[in-house]
Protein backbone atom coordinates (compact mmCIF):
# COMPACT_ATOMS: atom_id res chain seq x y z
CA UNK A 1 0.00 0.00 0.00
CA UNK A 2 1.39 3.34 -1.02
CA UNK A 3 1.02 6.16 1.44
CA UNK A 4 0.71 9.82 0.52
CA UNK A 5 3.41 12.16 1.74
CA UNK A 6 2.26 15.52 3.04
CA UNK A 7 4.71 18.24 2.11
CA UNK A 8 4.74 21.70 3.69
CA UNK A 9 6.21 24.24 1.29
CA UNK A 10 7.35 27.69 2.39
CA UNK A 11 5.35 30.45 0.68
CA UNK A 12 7.38 32.77 -1.47
CA UNK A 13 10.37 32.71 -3.76
CA UNK A 14 12.19 29.94 -1.92
CA UNK A 15 9.08 27.77 -2.00
CA UNK A 16 8.78 28.13 -5.78
CA UNK A 17 12.34 26.92 -6.15
CA UNK A 18 11.68 24.03 -3.79
CA UNK A 19 8.58 23.01 -5.70
CA UNK A 20 10.59 23.12 -8.91
CA UNK A 21 13.16 20.74 -7.43
CA UNK A 22 10.49 18.39 -6.12
CA UNK A 23 8.70 18.32 -9.47
CA UNK A 24 11.85 17.77 -11.44
CA UNK A 25 12.89 15.02 -9.05
CA UNK A 26 9.74 13.13 -9.95
CA UNK A 27 7.06 14.52 -7.64
CA UNK A 28 4.97 16.51 -10.11
CA UNK A 29 1.65 17.94 -9.17
CA UNK A 30 -0.22 19.67 -12.01
CA UNK A 31 -2.98 20.82 -9.66
CA UNK A 32 -0.68 23.24 -7.90
CA UNK A 33 -0.19 25.28 -11.07
CA UNK A 34 -3.89 25.83 -11.67
CA UNK A 35 -5.29 29.22 -10.80
CA UNK A 36 -7.73 28.63 -7.99
CA UNK A 37 -8.28 29.12 -4.32
CA UNK A 38 -7.50 25.63 -3.21
CA UNK A 39 -5.14 25.22 -0.27
CA UNK A 40 -4.06 21.62 -0.67
CA UNK A 41 -2.86 20.06 -3.91
CA UNK A 42 -2.37 16.39 -4.43
CA UNK A 43 -1.27 13.96 -7.05
CA UNK A 44 -2.09 10.37 -6.25
CA UNK A 45 0.14 9.09 -8.99
CA UNK A 46 3.31 10.51 -7.50
CA UNK A 47 1.98 10.17 -3.96
CA UNK A 48 2.43 13.72 -2.77
CA UNK A 49 0.16 16.29 -1.22
CA UNK A 50 1.53 19.84 -1.19
CA UNK A 51 0.44 22.87 0.75
CA UNK A 52 1.84 26.35 1.20
CA UNK A 53 2.44 27.74 4.67
CA UNK A 54 4.27 30.71 6.11
CA UNK A 55 8.01 29.89 5.96
CA UNK A 56 8.48 30.26 9.70
CA UNK A 57 5.58 27.85 10.29
CA UNK A 58 6.93 24.96 8.19
CA UNK A 59 8.80 23.46 11.13
CA UNK A 60 5.65 23.63 13.28
CA UNK A 61 3.58 21.73 10.71
CA UNK A 62 6.30 19.12 10.45
CA UNK A 63 6.94 18.81 14.17
CA UNK A 64 3.23 18.34 14.84
CA UNK A 65 2.90 15.78 12.08
CA UNK A 66 0.42 17.71 9.90
CA UNK A 67 3.16 17.59 7.28
CA UNK A 68 5.40 14.55 6.98
CA UNK A 69 8.18 16.54 5.42
CA UNK A 70 8.88 20.16 4.63
CA UNK A 71 11.54 22.58 3.61
CA UNK A 72 12.70 25.18 6.09
CA UNK A 73 15.61 27.57 6.31
CA UNK A 74 18.38 26.72 8.73
CA UNK A 75 17.59 30.05 10.43
CA UNK A 76 14.14 28.78 11.42
CA UNK A 77 15.59 25.47 12.63
CA UNK A 78 18.19 27.24 14.76
CA UNK A 79 15.69 29.71 16.16
CA UNK A 80 12.90 27.32 17.09
CA UNK A 81 14.91 24.09 17.51
CA UNK A 82 11.99 21.88 16.46
CA UNK A 83 12.19 18.17 17.27
CA UNK A 84 12.48 16.94 13.68
CA UNK A 85 14.93 15.07 11.48
CA UNK A 86 17.10 17.27 9.30
CA UNK A 87 17.62 15.06 6.30
CA UNK A 88 19.29 17.04 3.59
CA UNK A 89 20.78 20.40 2.69
CA UNK A 90 19.09 21.51 -0.54
CA UNK A 91 21.80 24.12 -1.06
CA UNK A 92 19.32 26.76 -2.19
CA UNK A 93 18.08 29.92 -0.50
CA UNK A 94 21.63 30.55 0.56
CA UNK A 95 22.34 33.50 2.78
CA UNK A 96 23.85 34.14 6.18
CA UNK A 97 22.76 35.18 9.61
CA UNK A 98 24.77 38.29 10.39
CA UNK A 99 25.18 41.17 12.76
CA UNK A 100 24.82 44.53 11.03
CA UNK A 101 25.11 48.12 12.19
CA UNK A 102 25.19 51.68 10.87
CA UNK A 103 28.31 52.43 8.85
CA UNK A 104 31.16 53.49 11.08
CA UNK A 105 29.63 51.82 14.13
CA UNK A 106 31.92 51.50 17.12
CA UNK A 107 31.01 48.82 19.62
CA UNK A 108 31.09 50.43 23.02
CA UNK A 109 31.72 47.45 25.28
CA UNK A 110 31.08 49.52 28.39
CA UNK A 111 27.38 49.41 27.71
CA UNK A 112 24.75 46.76 27.24
CA UNK A 113 24.40 46.14 23.53
CA UNK A 114 20.90 46.67 22.17
CA UNK A 115 20.09 44.09 19.51
CA UNK A 116 17.03 44.28 17.29
CA UNK A 117 16.09 40.98 15.65
CA UNK A 118 13.48 38.55 14.46
CA UNK A 119 15.65 35.77 15.89
CA UNK A 120 15.98 36.30 19.65
CA UNK A 121 17.26 32.79 20.38
CA UNK A 122 20.00 32.90 17.77
CA UNK A 123 21.08 36.38 18.90
CA UNK A 124 20.97 35.34 22.54
CA UNK A 125 23.16 32.27 22.11
CA UNK A 126 25.60 34.08 19.81
CA UNK A 127 26.26 36.81 22.36
CA UNK A 128 26.11 34.41 25.31
CA UNK A 129 29.12 32.61 23.80
CA UNK A 130 30.97 35.92 23.81
CA UNK A 131 29.78 36.67 27.31
CA UNK A 132 28.32 39.96 26.14
CA UNK A 133 25.42 41.51 28.00
CA UNK A 134 22.68 42.36 25.52
CA UNK A 135 19.20 43.74 25.43
CA UNK A 136 17.03 42.05 22.84
CA UNK A 137 14.40 43.97 20.96
CA UNK A 138 12.17 41.45 19.23
CA UNK A 139 10.74 42.81 16.00
CA UNK A 140 8.68 41.10 13.32
CA UNK A 141 9.89 42.92 10.23
CA UNK A 142 11.72 45.98 8.87
CA UNK A 143 14.57 45.29 11.25
CA UNK A 144 16.88 47.67 9.37
CA UNK A 145 15.07 50.71 10.63
CA UNK A 146 15.87 50.03 14.30
CA UNK A 147 19.54 51.15 14.26
CA UNK A 148 18.74 54.04 11.91
CA UNK A 149 16.28 55.39 14.46
CA UNK A 150 18.79 54.60 17.24
CA UNK A 151 16.38 52.17 18.88
CA UNK A 152 19.09 49.52 18.74
CA UNK A 153 22.87 49.47 18.31
CA UNK A 154 22.96 46.51 15.97
CA UNK A 155 20.63 44.09 14.25
CA UNK A 156 20.84 40.33 13.86
CA UNK A 157 19.20 39.38 10.63
CA UNK A 158 19.46 37.40 7.42
CA UNK A 159 21.74 38.95 4.83
CA UNK A 160 21.46 37.74 1.26
CA UNK A 161 23.08 40.29 -1.04
CA UNK A 162 23.39 43.15 1.40
CA UNK A 163 21.48 45.55 -0.85
CA UNK A 164 18.82 46.42 1.72
CA UNK A 165 21.53 47.10 4.26
CA UNK A 166 23.47 49.32 1.89
CA UNK A 167 20.40 51.32 0.94
CA UNK A 168 19.87 52.09 4.61
CA UNK A 169 23.51 52.96 5.24
CA UNK A 170 24.08 49.80 7.22
CA UNK A 171 26.82 47.23 6.84
CA UNK A 172 27.32 43.67 8.00
CA UNK A 173 29.97 43.49 10.70
CA UNK A 174 30.01 39.81 11.64
CA UNK A 175 28.67 36.53 10.27
CA UNK A 176 26.97 34.28 12.79
CA UNK A 177 26.17 31.26 10.64
CA UNK A 178 25.62 30.43 6.97
CA UNK A 179 22.02 29.58 6.10
CA UNK A 180 20.45 27.35 3.47
CA UNK A 181 17.21 25.46 2.96
CA UNK A 182 16.92 22.04 4.61
CA UNK A 183 14.68 19.09 3.98
CA UNK A 184 13.11 18.16 7.31
CA UNK A 185 10.90 15.28 8.35
CA UNK A 186 8.57 14.50 11.20
CA UNK A 187 10.22 11.87 13.38
CA UNK A 188 7.22 9.56 13.58
CA UNK A 189 6.25 9.91 9.90
CA UNK A 190 9.82 8.94 9.08
CA UNK A 191 9.16 5.63 10.79
CA UNK A 192 5.68 4.87 9.53
CA UNK A 193 6.25 6.15 5.99
CA UNK A 194 9.87 5.13 5.92
CA UNK A 195 9.85 3.68 2.43
CA UNK A 196 8.15 6.67 0.86
CA UNK A 197 10.17 9.30 2.66
CA UNK A 198 13.57 7.70 2.07
CA UNK A 199 12.69 7.22 -1.60
CA UNK A 200 11.85 10.92 -1.85
CA UNK A 201 14.97 11.90 0.05
CA UNK A 202 17.06 9.86 -2.33
CA UNK A 203 15.46 11.26 -5.48
CA UNK A 204 15.85 14.82 -4.26
CA UNK A 205 19.45 14.16 -3.34
CA UNK A 206 20.19 12.65 -6.74
CA UNK A 207 18.55 15.54 -8.52
CA UNK A 208 20.37 18.16 -6.45
CA UNK A 209 23.72 16.48 -6.97
CA UNK A 210 23.13 16.32 -10.72
CA UNK A 211 22.31 19.98 -10.99
Amino acid sequence: MKQMINVALPKGRLGEKVLDIFEKAGYECPAIHEQNRKLIFENEETGVRYFWVKPSDVSIYVERGAADIGVAGKDILLEYAPDVYELYDLDIGKCRMAVAACKGFRDNTERTLRVATKFPNIAQSFYAKKGRDIDIIKLNGSIEIAPVLKMSDVIVDIVETGTTLKENDLEPIETIVPISARLISNKVSYKFKHKEITALEKKIEEFCKGR
Binding site: E86, Y190, K191, H194
Partner: protein, 374 residues
Protein backbone atom coordinates in the same frame (compact mmCIF):
# COMPACT_ATOMS: atom_id res chain seq x y z
CA UNK B 1 -5.13 7.63 7.10
CA UNK B 2 -5.45 7.74 10.83
CA UNK B 3 -5.81 4.74 13.03
CA UNK B 4 -7.95 4.39 16.07
CA UNK B 5 -6.68 2.85 19.22
CA UNK B 6 -8.23 0.09 21.18
CA UNK B 7 -9.39 2.05 24.20
CA UNK B 8 -12.44 4.20 24.74
CA UNK B 9 -10.74 6.42 27.31
CA UNK B 10 -7.78 6.82 29.62
CA UNK B 11 -9.26 4.72 32.39
CA UNK B 12 -9.81 1.78 30.06
CA UNK B 13 -6.22 2.03 28.88
CA UNK B 14 -4.91 2.10 32.43
CA UNK B 15 -6.99 -0.93 33.35
CA UNK B 16 -5.95 -3.00 30.35
CA UNK B 17 -2.27 -2.19 30.65
CA UNK B 18 -2.27 -2.73 34.42
CA UNK B 19 -3.74 -6.16 33.85
CA UNK B 20 -0.97 -6.92 31.39
CA UNK B 21 1.73 -5.89 33.85
CA UNK B 22 0.14 -7.86 36.70
CA UNK B 23 0.15 -10.94 34.48
CA UNK B 24 3.92 -10.79 34.45
CA UNK B 25 4.19 -10.45 38.19
CA UNK B 26 4.58 -6.72 38.49
CA UNK B 27 3.08 -5.26 41.62
CA UNK B 28 1.07 -2.08 41.73
CA UNK B 29 2.96 0.65 43.51
CA UNK B 30 0.72 3.34 44.93
CA UNK B 31 2.55 6.46 45.84
CA UNK B 32 2.04 9.55 47.87
CA UNK B 33 1.26 12.65 45.86
CA UNK B 34 4.12 14.67 47.29
CA UNK B 35 7.83 14.28 47.38
CA UNK B 36 10.60 16.31 48.97
CA UNK B 37 11.62 19.12 46.67
CA UNK B 38 15.29 18.30 47.15
CA UNK B 39 14.98 15.14 45.10
CA UNK B 40 14.12 17.10 41.99
CA UNK B 41 16.54 19.93 42.66
CA UNK B 42 19.34 17.36 42.66
CA UNK B 43 18.19 15.60 39.53
CA UNK B 44 17.11 18.45 37.33
CA UNK B 45 18.54 16.95 34.16
CA UNK B 46 16.52 13.80 34.57
CA UNK B 47 13.37 15.87 34.32
CA UNK B 48 14.79 17.59 31.24
CA UNK B 49 14.90 20.90 33.02
CA UNK B 50 11.18 20.91 33.63
CA UNK B 51 10.12 22.91 36.65
CA UNK B 52 8.07 21.52 39.53
CA UNK B 53 5.23 22.84 41.65
CA UNK B 54 6.69 23.40 45.09
CA UNK B 55 4.96 24.27 48.33
CA UNK B 56 5.76 24.40 52.03
CA UNK B 57 4.41 21.58 54.15
CA UNK B 58 2.92 22.23 57.59
CA UNK B 59 6.24 21.39 59.25
CA UNK B 60 8.11 23.91 57.12
CA UNK B 61 9.79 21.49 54.73
CA UNK B 62 9.74 22.25 51.03
CA UNK B 63 7.69 19.73 49.11
CA UNK B 64 6.79 19.22 45.46
CA UNK B 65 3.93 17.76 43.50
CA UNK B 66 5.45 14.84 41.64
CA UNK B 67 6.65 15.68 38.14
CA UNK B 68 7.93 12.13 37.72
CA UNK B 69 7.54 8.75 39.32
CA UNK B 70 10.78 6.94 38.45
CA UNK B 71 12.93 9.08 40.75
CA UNK B 72 10.71 8.27 43.73
CA UNK B 73 10.82 4.55 42.99
CA UNK B 74 14.58 4.60 42.58
CA UNK B 75 15.01 6.55 45.81
CA UNK B 76 12.87 4.08 47.71
CA UNK B 77 14.25 0.89 46.16
CA UNK B 78 15.86 -1.48 48.65
CA UNK B 79 19.00 -2.32 46.67
CA UNK B 80 19.07 -5.90 47.88
CA UNK B 81 20.06 -8.59 45.48
CA UNK B 82 17.79 -11.29 46.86
CA UNK B 83 15.09 -10.69 44.27
CA UNK B 84 14.28 -8.02 41.73
CA UNK B 85 11.67 -5.39 42.49
CA UNK B 86 9.03 -5.43 39.81
CA UNK B 87 6.53 -2.64 40.10
CA UNK B 88 4.13 -0.69 37.93
CA UNK B 89 2.41 2.57 38.66
CA UNK B 90 -0.32 4.79 37.34
CA UNK B 91 -0.07 8.23 38.81
CA UNK B 92 -0.88 11.79 37.97
CA UNK B 93 2.22 13.87 37.54
CA UNK B 94 2.55 17.61 37.12
CA UNK B 95 4.69 19.07 34.41
CA UNK B 96 5.04 22.18 32.36
CA UNK B 97 3.37 21.88 29.00
CA UNK B 98 5.76 22.59 26.15
CA UNK B 99 3.25 24.61 24.19
CA UNK B 100 1.48 26.68 26.80
CA UNK B 101 4.34 26.89 29.33
CA UNK B 102 1.90 26.24 32.11
CA UNK B 103 1.60 23.34 34.50
CA UNK B 104 -0.66 20.52 33.58
CA UNK B 105 -1.66 17.25 35.08
CA UNK B 106 -0.83 14.17 33.06
CA UNK B 107 -1.53 10.56 33.74
CA UNK B 108 1.61 8.50 33.66
CA UNK B 109 1.64 4.78 33.54
CA UNK B 110 4.82 2.80 33.66
CA UNK B 111 6.82 0.02 35.15
CA UNK B 112 10.25 -0.51 36.60
CA UNK B 113 12.36 -3.55 37.25
CA UNK B 114 15.15 -2.99 39.76
CA UNK B 115 17.73 -5.45 41.02
CA UNK B 116 20.24 -7.82 39.53
CA UNK B 117 19.26 -7.69 35.89
CA UNK B 118 20.01 -10.37 33.37
CA UNK B 119 18.99 -10.73 29.77
CA UNK B 120 15.62 -12.09 30.83
CA UNK B 121 14.66 -9.15 33.03
CA UNK B 122 15.75 -6.65 30.42
CA UNK B 123 14.01 -8.44 27.57
CA UNK B 124 10.85 -8.94 29.55
CA UNK B 125 10.50 -5.21 30.14
CA UNK B 126 11.05 -4.51 26.45
CA UNK B 127 8.57 -7.21 25.52
CA UNK B 128 6.01 -5.59 27.84
CA UNK B 129 6.69 -2.25 26.18
CA UNK B 130 5.95 -3.82 22.81
CA UNK B 131 2.84 -5.53 24.15
CA UNK B 132 1.65 -2.22 25.58
CA UNK B 133 1.97 -0.68 22.14
CA UNK B 134 0.16 -3.62 20.57
CA UNK B 135 -2.70 -3.12 23.00
CA UNK B 136 -2.88 0.55 22.11
CA UNK B 137 -2.78 0.36 18.33
CA UNK B 138 -2.08 -2.24 15.70
CA UNK B 139 0.17 0.05 13.70
CA UNK B 140 3.00 0.65 16.11
CA UNK B 141 6.76 0.68 16.16
CA UNK B 142 9.22 0.10 18.95
CA UNK B 143 12.58 1.65 18.19
CA UNK B 144 15.51 0.39 20.16
CA UNK B 145 18.98 1.75 20.56
CA UNK B 146 21.96 1.18 22.82
CA UNK B 147 23.73 3.97 24.65
CA UNK B 148 26.71 1.68 25.16
CA UNK B 149 27.28 1.47 21.42
CA UNK B 150 27.37 5.21 20.97
CA UNK B 151 29.61 5.71 23.98
CA UNK B 152 31.81 2.86 22.78
CA UNK B 153 32.36 4.60 19.46
CA UNK B 154 33.44 7.75 21.25
CA UNK B 155 35.75 5.90 23.60
CA UNK B 156 39.22 7.37 23.58
CA UNK B 157 38.14 10.43 21.60
CA UNK B 158 38.38 12.60 24.70
CA UNK B 159 35.45 14.83 23.88
CA UNK B 160 34.16 17.31 26.41
CA UNK B 161 30.55 16.92 27.49
CA UNK B 162 29.60 19.92 25.39
CA UNK B 163 31.13 18.48 22.24
CA UNK B 164 29.60 15.12 23.00
CA UNK B 165 26.19 16.75 23.18
CA UNK B 166 26.73 18.48 19.83
CA UNK B 167 27.52 15.08 18.31
CA UNK B 168 24.45 13.58 19.94
CA UNK B 169 22.31 16.42 18.59
CA UNK B 170 23.39 15.46 15.07
CA UNK B 171 22.38 11.85 15.66
CA UNK B 172 19.11 12.96 17.19
CA UNK B 173 18.19 14.97 14.10
CA UNK B 174 19.69 12.43 11.64
CA UNK B 175 21.80 15.23 10.26
CA UNK B 176 24.62 13.36 8.50
CA UNK B 177 26.03 16.47 6.91
CA UNK B 178 26.49 18.30 10.16
CA UNK B 179 27.81 15.13 11.75
CA UNK B 180 30.64 15.09 9.23
CA UNK B 181 31.41 18.74 9.89
CA UNK B 182 31.35 18.33 13.67
CA UNK B 183 33.60 15.26 13.55
CA UNK B 184 36.10 17.21 11.48
CA UNK B 185 35.87 20.20 13.78
CA UNK B 186 36.35 18.12 16.94
CA UNK B 187 39.12 16.02 15.44
CA UNK B 188 37.29 12.71 15.79
CA UNK B 189 39.39 9.84 14.41
CA UNK B 190 38.61 8.58 10.91
CA UNK B 191 37.10 5.25 11.94
CA UNK B 192 34.89 6.71 14.62
CA UNK B 193 33.74 9.56 12.36
CA UNK B 194 32.80 7.10 9.65
CA UNK B 195 30.98 4.90 12.15
CA UNK B 196 29.09 7.89 13.57
CA UNK B 197 28.01 8.89 10.09
CA UNK B 198 26.61 5.41 9.43
CA UNK B 199 25.00 5.34 12.86
CA UNK B 200 23.21 8.61 12.10
CA UNK B 201 21.49 7.16 9.08
CA UNK B 202 20.74 3.62 10.29
CA UNK B 203 17.05 2.93 10.42
CA UNK B 204 15.03 -0.17 9.82
CA UNK B 205 14.13 -3.62 11.01
CA UNK B 206 16.55 -5.20 13.42
CA UNK B 207 17.54 -8.06 11.16
CA UNK B 208 18.29 -5.68 8.31
CA UNK B 209 20.31 -3.21 10.35
CA UNK B 210 22.27 -5.40 12.70
CA UNK B 211 24.68 -6.25 9.89
CA UNK B 212 25.39 -2.57 9.24
CA UNK B 213 25.97 -2.16 12.95
CA UNK B 214 28.45 -5.01 13.06
CA UNK B 215 30.36 -3.50 10.18
CA UNK B 216 31.07 -0.31 12.12
CA UNK B 217 31.77 -1.90 15.49
CA UNK B 218 35.11 -0.63 16.73
CA UNK B 219 35.95 -2.22 20.04
CA UNK B 220 34.88 -4.44 22.89
CA UNK B 221 32.26 -2.03 24.22
CA UNK B 222 30.53 -1.76 20.87
CA UNK B 223 30.70 -5.53 20.37
CA UNK B 224 29.15 -6.03 23.77
CA UNK B 225 26.33 -3.61 22.97
CA UNK B 226 25.53 -5.46 19.75
CA UNK B 227 25.53 -8.75 21.59
CA UNK B 228 23.09 -7.44 24.13
CA UNK B 229 20.81 -6.06 21.43
CA UNK B 230 20.92 -9.40 19.66
CA UNK B 231 20.00 -11.39 22.72
CA UNK B 232 17.12 -9.03 23.48
CA UNK B 233 15.91 -9.31 19.91
CA UNK B 234 16.03 -13.08 19.82
CA UNK B 235 14.05 -13.13 23.06
CA UNK B 236 11.43 -10.88 21.47
CA UNK B 237 11.36 -13.17 18.47
CA UNK B 238 10.78 -16.22 20.59
CA UNK B 239 7.75 -14.65 22.23
CA UNK B 240 6.36 -13.36 18.96
CA UNK B 241 6.92 -9.69 19.72
CA UNK B 242 9.60 -8.88 17.18
CA UNK B 243 7.36 -7.42 14.49
CA UNK B 244 7.80 -3.68 14.23
CA UNK B 245 10.92 -3.62 16.37
CA UNK B 246 13.42 -1.35 14.65
CA UNK B 247 16.93 -0.19 15.29
CA UNK B 248 17.22 3.56 15.49
CA UNK B 249 20.07 5.42 17.12
CA UNK B 250 18.38 8.79 16.78
CA UNK B 251 16.63 8.09 20.05
CA UNK B 252 19.16 9.21 22.59
CA UNK B 253 18.45 9.73 26.26
CA UNK B 254 20.51 11.60 28.82
CA UNK B 255 23.97 10.07 29.22
CA UNK B 256 24.00 10.86 32.91
CA UNK B 257 21.16 8.49 33.62
CA UNK B 258 20.83 5.93 30.89
CA UNK B 259 23.49 3.44 29.94
CA UNK B 260 22.34 0.32 28.12
CA UNK B 261 19.42 -0.46 25.84
CA UNK B 262 16.94 2.38 25.41
CA UNK B 263 13.69 2.38 23.47
CA UNK B 264 10.87 4.62 22.33
CA UNK B 265 7.42 3.54 21.18
CA UNK B 266 5.31 5.13 18.48
CA UNK B 267 1.82 4.62 17.15
CA UNK B 268 0.54 5.78 13.81
CA UNK B 269 -1.25 9.10 14.10
CA UNK B 270 0.55 10.54 17.11
CA UNK B 271 3.45 12.80 16.13
CA UNK B 272 5.54 12.11 19.25
CA UNK B 273 6.75 9.09 21.17
CA UNK B 274 4.00 7.58 23.29
CA UNK B 275 6.31 5.32 25.26
CA UNK B 276 9.84 5.85 26.42
CA UNK B 277 12.20 3.83 28.52
CA UNK B 278 15.51 2.15 28.92
CA UNK B 279 18.15 0.91 31.20
CA UNK B 280 19.17 3.52 33.77
CA UNK B 281 21.88 2.04 35.97
CA UNK B 282 23.62 5.42 35.99
CA UNK B 283 20.69 6.97 37.80
CA UNK B 284 20.92 4.20 40.40
CA UNK B 285 24.60 5.04 40.91
CA UNK B 286 23.67 8.66 41.51
CA UNK B 287 21.62 7.43 44.43
CA UNK B 288 24.51 5.30 45.61
CA UNK B 289 22.78 2.05 44.68
CA UNK B 290 24.45 -0.92 43.08
CA UNK B 291 21.43 -2.55 41.44
CA UNK B 292 20.59 -2.30 37.80
CA UNK B 293 17.30 -0.80 36.68
CA UNK B 294 15.16 -0.80 33.58
CA UNK B 295 11.71 0.61 32.99
CA UNK B 296 9.44 2.61 30.79
CA UNK B 297 6.54 5.04 30.91
CA UNK B 298 3.51 5.31 28.65
CA UNK B 299 2.30 8.83 27.91
CA UNK B 300 -1.44 8.47 28.00
CA UNK B 301 -2.06 12.16 27.33
CA UNK B 302 -0.50 11.70 23.90
CA UNK B 303 -2.98 8.95 23.17
CA UNK B 304 -6.14 10.77 24.07
CA UNK B 305 -6.39 12.20 20.56
CA UNK B 306 -6.71 8.74 19.10
CA UNK B 307 -9.25 7.44 21.58
CA UNK B 308 -12.43 6.10 20.05
CA UNK B 309 -15.02 8.83 19.90
CA UNK B 310 -17.91 6.97 18.31
CA UNK B 311 -20.42 8.60 20.59
CA UNK B 312 -22.18 11.11 18.45
CA UNK B 313 -24.94 11.54 20.98
CA UNK B 314 -24.89 12.72 24.56
CA UNK B 315 -27.98 10.70 25.46
CA UNK B 316 -30.30 8.25 23.79
CA UNK B 317 -33.42 10.01 24.93
CA UNK B 318 -34.07 13.56 25.92
CA UNK B 319 -37.29 13.58 27.91
CA UNK B 320 -39.05 16.90 28.30
CA UNK B 321 -41.73 17.54 30.88
CA UNK B 322 -43.60 20.54 32.22
CA UNK B 323 -45.57 21.50 35.34
CA UNK B 324 -48.62 19.56 34.18
CA UNK B 325 -46.69 16.30 33.86
CA UNK B 326 -47.63 13.39 36.06
CA UNK B 327 -44.56 12.79 38.26
CA UNK B 328 -45.15 9.05 38.67
CA UNK B 329 -45.49 8.69 34.91
CA UNK B 330 -42.23 10.59 34.48
CA UNK B 331 -40.48 8.30 36.95
CA UNK B 332 -41.95 5.23 35.27
CA UNK B 333 -40.95 6.35 31.80
CA UNK B 334 -37.40 7.09 32.88
CA UNK B 335 -37.31 3.74 34.67
CA UNK B 336 -38.47 1.71 31.70
CA UNK B 337 -36.12 3.46 29.30
CA UNK B 338 -33.11 2.93 31.53
CA UNK B 339 -34.14 -0.67 32.01
CA UNK B 340 -33.95 -1.03 28.25
CA UNK B 341 -30.36 0.07 28.53
CA UNK B 342 -30.95 3.53 27.20
CA UNK B 343 -29.60 6.71 28.66
CA UNK B 344 -32.26 9.26 29.53
CA UNK B 345 -32.00 12.85 30.47
CA UNK B 346 -35.11 14.44 31.86
CA UNK B 347 -35.39 18.19 31.90
CA UNK B 348 -37.94 20.93 31.53
CA UNK B 349 -36.69 22.71 28.47
CA UNK B 350 -34.66 21.76 25.46
CA UNK B 351 -31.85 24.29 25.51
CA UNK B 352 -30.31 22.80 22.40
CA UNK B 353 -26.98 21.84 23.96
CA UNK B 354 -27.76 18.15 24.42
CA UNK B 355 -27.41 15.87 21.39
CA UNK B 356 -30.02 13.15 21.52
CA UNK B 357 -31.20 10.25 19.40
CA UNK B 358 -34.82 10.58 20.37
CA UNK B 359 -36.77 13.49 21.76
CA UNK B 360 -39.75 12.60 23.93
CA UNK B 361 -42.23 14.75 25.74
CA UNK B 362 -44.67 14.19 28.55
CA UNK B 363 -47.91 16.07 28.11
CA UNK B 364 -50.06 15.63 31.18
CA UNK B 365 -50.57 11.88 31.26
CA UNK B 366 -49.30 11.09 27.78
CA UNK B 367 -45.83 10.19 26.55
CA UNK B 368 -45.15 11.40 23.05
CA UNK B 369 -42.16 10.80 20.77
CA UNK B 370 -41.48 14.10 19.08
CA UNK B 371 -38.61 13.14 16.84
CA UNK B 372 -36.17 10.30 16.45
CA UNK B 373 -33.01 9.63 14.54
CA UNK B 374 -33.38 5.87 14.30
Amino acid sequence: MSSVIGFANEEAAVMALSRLYRQYGFKHFKMSKFEEYDLYAQNKDFLLGSSVIAFTDTNGSLMALKPDVTLSIVKGSSDTFSEPEKVYYSENVYRVDKGTHRFKEIMQLGLECIGELGVYELSEVIMLAKKSLDAVCERNILDISHMGFLLGLLEGENLSEKKMNRIIDCIRSKNTLEMEERCKEFGVSFDAANALKVLTSIYGSFTKCVGELKAISLNESTDKAIKELESVYSFLESCGCADGVNLDFSIVNDLNYYNGVIFHGFVDGVPNAVLSGGRYDNLMRKFGKRSGAVGFAVYLDQLSRLMRSDEEYDVDVLLLYDESADLSLLAKTVGSLTNDGKSVRAQRHNGGSVKYRTLMKINGTEVETVETDD
